[in-house]
Symmetry: C2
Subunit: 355 residues, 2 copies
DNA sequence: ATTCTAGGCCGAATCGATTCGAGTGGGGTG
DNA sequence: CACCCCACTCGAATCGATTCGGCCTAGAAT
């Protein structure tokens, strides 16, 4: 779409054409400095005549030391993040929070592999970064950002003392949900957790796996569940998705002689998958199996009104955005912790034969 | 999180510490040039000792002339775009398409207001841009990008001869859907369209509104519908959302004596809203009212299997991403047009008394 | 032993704009 | 009438890295 032969005009060209110095032309564009209206107009006219498209943002950001871009680090590929309604809500909140900055949002993923020229955490022209998600890889990201001196805010996941963290009462909330199940009379409770490690190991919830956990969210929610059901075990999913929930649900419900009466899933998507598995196996929800979720999103296609722990996702995002603004303003970092609430839907009931 | 007192080390500092020249240090980092292993190691060691975080991406991109960032222009605020499943699918496709570039995705909105320092289309450090959505403001965006010489690809919306466009058979597909309704026996058909202009005027589908259209998608789909039902009129929505569909549906169904037997909505979300309106008013779908959508997404909470025109959203995004790669490689722009298919669900039936 | 070759390394220019201190002209004032 | 001040403009340095041509030296070839 461009004529490669003719290089784009630069500010210097415009200045020459307008008969002023480059510095004056710059002033005319940025608008701030003391420039007479006549001069400014002349510069703008020259720019127009030359087809000048405005100051090059690359040069500008080099000089100014700011790019006007805030990075958002997702732990998975973009596709996966977009499939998770919680992530989208947080993104939305972040957008609101950083609005006063007028900054753009750059989507980044921390896959660990540093591909030479690819734009990554190690090399993205960002002024600040928000780490999203219960990231098992968090340590790595934080180190890279610290070296680069980039202000950072983390959503879910203790990143370090000097990094403000936006979180929720994962343990306490889960405990509340678990207590509700206990009050209903459940004793045979199984868990479906979020991934515990960077490898996203899928499988039984072994002590070894839990001990090696690098994911705070999963760990905290697990603790909350075990506060009420100390012996509870279950399965770890490889991601927060219906698919993974389905898989875990199948495994947990495989043996008709030995089924839990309730399953605590660490996300609504996982819960939806568990319910699907139950339907497959002819296990009635909630009559034969109670299912508890976490997040409070609407799950597409789910016929039930899921009993779940509702977290304020948008508010979390907004808080993260606001924290970014504060950091950039030189104010000290401030962490925040939000509270979740139990929403009782129709996927939980007293266990069979106990009504 | 950073000690403001001590400025970050630069490549020159590292070079000095390693006892080599800046140029050599640069080579050591970028890896490409001829540098002995010993030297490279020394440089890397020095960098480590100094806590150097790697080459500054701002300086690098100024010199290289590329930032490694691809912009995605959404016509609405980010929140709104994320609520539209079609947009998300296209974003996902774009991510796939530009994967070989290793580039980041910068979210931009073209609101028209140019806020001084804000990162916008006029001033974003992007190597290329994808315009998403049936944007009434497209002309403005394109002009800004052309001036800046930034390779551009448009999804839905004729942007100009030299800009590759990724589109679907809007008119033809809608015609097919309309013909299906006609075959069922419908004659009283009303329309609910996407916005026609930048102002997103909501209201009756007047000739004046249509004539002043700046939105190709809405216009094309309208033409397709009128190919079959030349007299069809209806209402224009202010956005593609359930809420807007609801509003339009209420208006179209308000008068019991004068109701259409079928409504052609230009998006699934609008269709879902129309169905909600019908339910509100006690109009049975499809017995008393047939509803046709467009997009082929799953609408959250909708109990029906919507009859709709399924478009390949992800493929469109991927094609756009691939076009970006081609443009950046200097290859000539290539437009592509995908085909939609009619999915017959349970929201369409012969009109009452015609079975 | 001498010349050729090539791998390694360096110096200097460059990318394009911003910024700060210095200069200059015109208008107002004592 | 001379002086001062203000408003505007200019020069030059700077942001930090990349890149290209040239230079040097050690080893190979003759």
């Amino acid at each position: 779409m461009q004529t490669d032969s003719a290089p784009r005009p630069t500010l210097a060209d415009v200045a020459a054409k307008a008969g002023v110095s480059a510095s004056t032309a710059s002033l005319a564009f940025s608008g701030s400095g003391p420039v007479s209206d006549a001069t400014k107009e002349r510069v703008l006219a020259a720019a127009d005549a030359l087809g000048y498209g405005g100051p090059d943002p690359r040069a500008r950001s080099l000089r100014r030391g700011r790019s006007g871009i805030v990075g958002v680090v997702l732990e998975e590929r973009v596709r996966a993040a977009f499939l998770d309604p919680v992530k989208i809500q947080m993104l939305d909140g972040i957008t609101e929070g950083i609005a006063p900055l007028g900054a753009g949002l750059l989507l980044l993923t921390d896959t660990g592999e540093v591909d030479g020229n690819a734009v990554s955490i190690e090399s993205a022209p960002v002024d600040a970064v928000v780490l999203i998600g219960c990231s098992p890889r968090l340590g790595h990201s934080v180190e890279a950002l610290r070296r680069r001196g980039i202000p950072t805010v983390a959503i879910e996941g203790a990143a370090g003392e000097d990094i403000p963290e936006i979180s929720i009462d994962n343990r306490e909330a889960t405990r509340r949900g678990a207590e509700y199940l206990k009050e209903l009379g459940h004793t045979e409770v199984a868990l479906v957790t979020l991934p515990f490690d960077a490898a996203r190991t899928r499988g039984p919830l072994t002590p070894a796996l839990v001990a090696a956990s690098t994911a705070d969210t999963a760990s905290e929610r697990l603790l909350g569940a075990r506060d009420v059901f100390p012996e509870a075990t279950g399965r770890a999913a490889a991601a927060s998705s219906i698919e993974e929930g389905l898989e875990a649900g199948r495994a947990l419900l495989a043996d008709p002689a030995n089924r839990p009466t309730a399953i605590i899933a660490q996300s609504d998507l996982l819960a939806a998958g568990v319910i699907q598995a139950a339907e497959e196996l002819g296990v009635a929800v909630p009559a034969e199996l109670s299912v508890l979720g976490f997040d409070g999103i609407r799950v597409d296609g789910l016929q039930h009104d899921l009993t779940t722990l509702v977290q304020p996702s948008v508010a979390k995002g907004r808080a993260a955005g606001e924290a970014v603004v504060q950091l950039l303003a030189g104010e000290p970092p401030r962490s925040r912790c939000f509270t979740s609430s139990l929403h009782v839907g129709d996927t939980t009931a007293p266990p069979r034969g106990r009504r």
